[in-house]
């Protein structure tokens, strides 16, 4: 092998082993990298015990109720549901049926006391007319 080919082989080999190492490390860290757990994972006992964590899911349609300063709603992944109580300002995009990520602690009464609520929007962008047409199409099966 010429020195140049040797260098190229060394670089390619180095990169390949680095990629494998990174892949293994990320795989091992999997659950720590996730920003939130789903309601199903909470129900399965996979959420951190005794400390604050985040739950992500959809705001159940029609579940948002305001009582004085506190907002009550249910967060769901369409399989399991968790009731949430939150005192504070909700982001503009927080809506019925849309995604949200809540941070807080799970109380003994099964209600998740949130200290922060973030709205999670999707990757679809369309004019209001198109959204309206979509909603209409959904209503008439």
């Amino acid at each position: 092998m010429k020195p140049r080919q040797k260098r190229i082989a060394l670089i390619v080999g180095g990169l390949a082993s680095l990629a494998i190492a990174a892949g293994l490390a990320l795989n091992a860290l999997d659950s720590n990298i996730a920003l939130y757990v789903t309601p199903s994972e909470v129900a399965a006992g996979k959420s951190p015990q005794g400390k604050a964590f985040r739950i992500g899911g959809l705001v159940k349609e029609g579940s948002v109720k305001r009582q004085d300063m506190t907002v009550h709603f249910v967060i769901t992944d369409t399989v399991k549901e968790i009731p949430v109580a939150y005192k504070g300002i909700l982001p503009d995009l927080f809506r019925d049926g849309k995604g949200a990520v809540v941070q807080g602690r799970l109380g003994g009464d099964g209600i998740f006391a949130a200290t922060e609520v973030l709205a999670k929007h999707d990757e679809n962008y369309m004019p209001p007319e198109a959204q309206h047409a979509l909603d209409q199409a959904k209503k008439t099966p």
Partner: protein, 246 residues
């Protein structure tokens, strides 16, 4: 060296690359301006309001092209760095060095516009989710590359050290790109995918495409401008530079 590849290698010499870069720069500036004007016009006046996010979504026309460029410039930079390491060509290292500040600018722009977008829509300037964190790491990789190169006086050694850092950092690029698929993130998934139709209105897509092309042209123009300065600086002891500067 065989006869057939001599032509191709001609521009690997700083002396012949310098005037070529000089001739190309005005064209890329012109293209950047043209695409920029078209892109901004579409972004502000043609593209419709978004059903969910209203007018606020329009920051996407800067945010997404900047993020794309921050990742793509890194790949190009690492490619040049690797080429320089493997073939010992002089211009390769200079190209890598010239691309880094523009890449860092794009990463910073991506993080900054992302924060401005995140506050009104998500309700937070910043969250430590996988997409945001890996993009921040990319920004630091650029800064680290520039700092490392600046810390070593001998340019050839600086190129080698920088090249190794750049190549190691390549691992981060697929992590950024696929982070929204692999892990639960607050950041939404990709709107533009290779394997399905874009989930975006047509005119919005055109605006984003024009802005992306504008960023491309700008990046190339600035990188060529910078590489010319680097060539002059590194080759200042040669005869041709003395003639060129006169």
């Amino acid at each position: 060296m065989r006869q057939s590849i001599i032509q191709w290698f001609r521009f690997a010499s700083p002396q012949s690359f310098y005037p070529l870069a000089g001739r190309l720069i005005p064209w890329f500036w012109g293209a950047a301006a043209a695409f920029g004007i078209a892109g901004l016009w579409i972004s502000f006046f043609v593209a419709p309001t978004d059903a969910q996010q209203g007018e606020g979504y329009r920051i996407i026309f800067v945010h997404v092209p900047a993020s794309w460029m921050s990742m793509f410039i890194y790949l190009v930079m690492a490619f040049w760095a690797g080429l320089g390491l493997a073939l010992n060509t002089r211009v390769s290292g200079m190209m890598a060095q010239a691309l880094a500040p523009t890449g860092a600018l794009m990463a910073a722009l991506s993080l900054w516009t992302g924060a401005l977008w995140g506050k009104p829509m998500w309700g937070a300037w910043w969250v430590w989710d996988a997409r945001l964190t890996s993009e921040l790491i990319l920004f630091f990789l650029y800064l680290g590359f520039m700092a490392l190169q600046a810390a070593i006086d001998d340019p050839r050694r600086a190129d080698k050290a920088g090249a190794i850092l750049a190549l190691v950092g390549v691992v981060n690029i697929p992590i950024i790109y696929f982070s929204v698929k692999w892990w639960n993130t607050l950041h939404q998934g990709s709107t533009i995918n290779l394997n399905k139709a874009p989930s975006m209105a047509q005119t919005m897509l055109w605006g984003m495409l024009m802005m992306a092309l504008c960023f491309w042209m700008y990046s190339i123009a600035v990188a060529l401008l910078r590489v010319r300065a680097i060539i002059l600086e590194r080759e200042r002891h040669t005869e041709w530079v003395k003639h060129a500067v006169e």
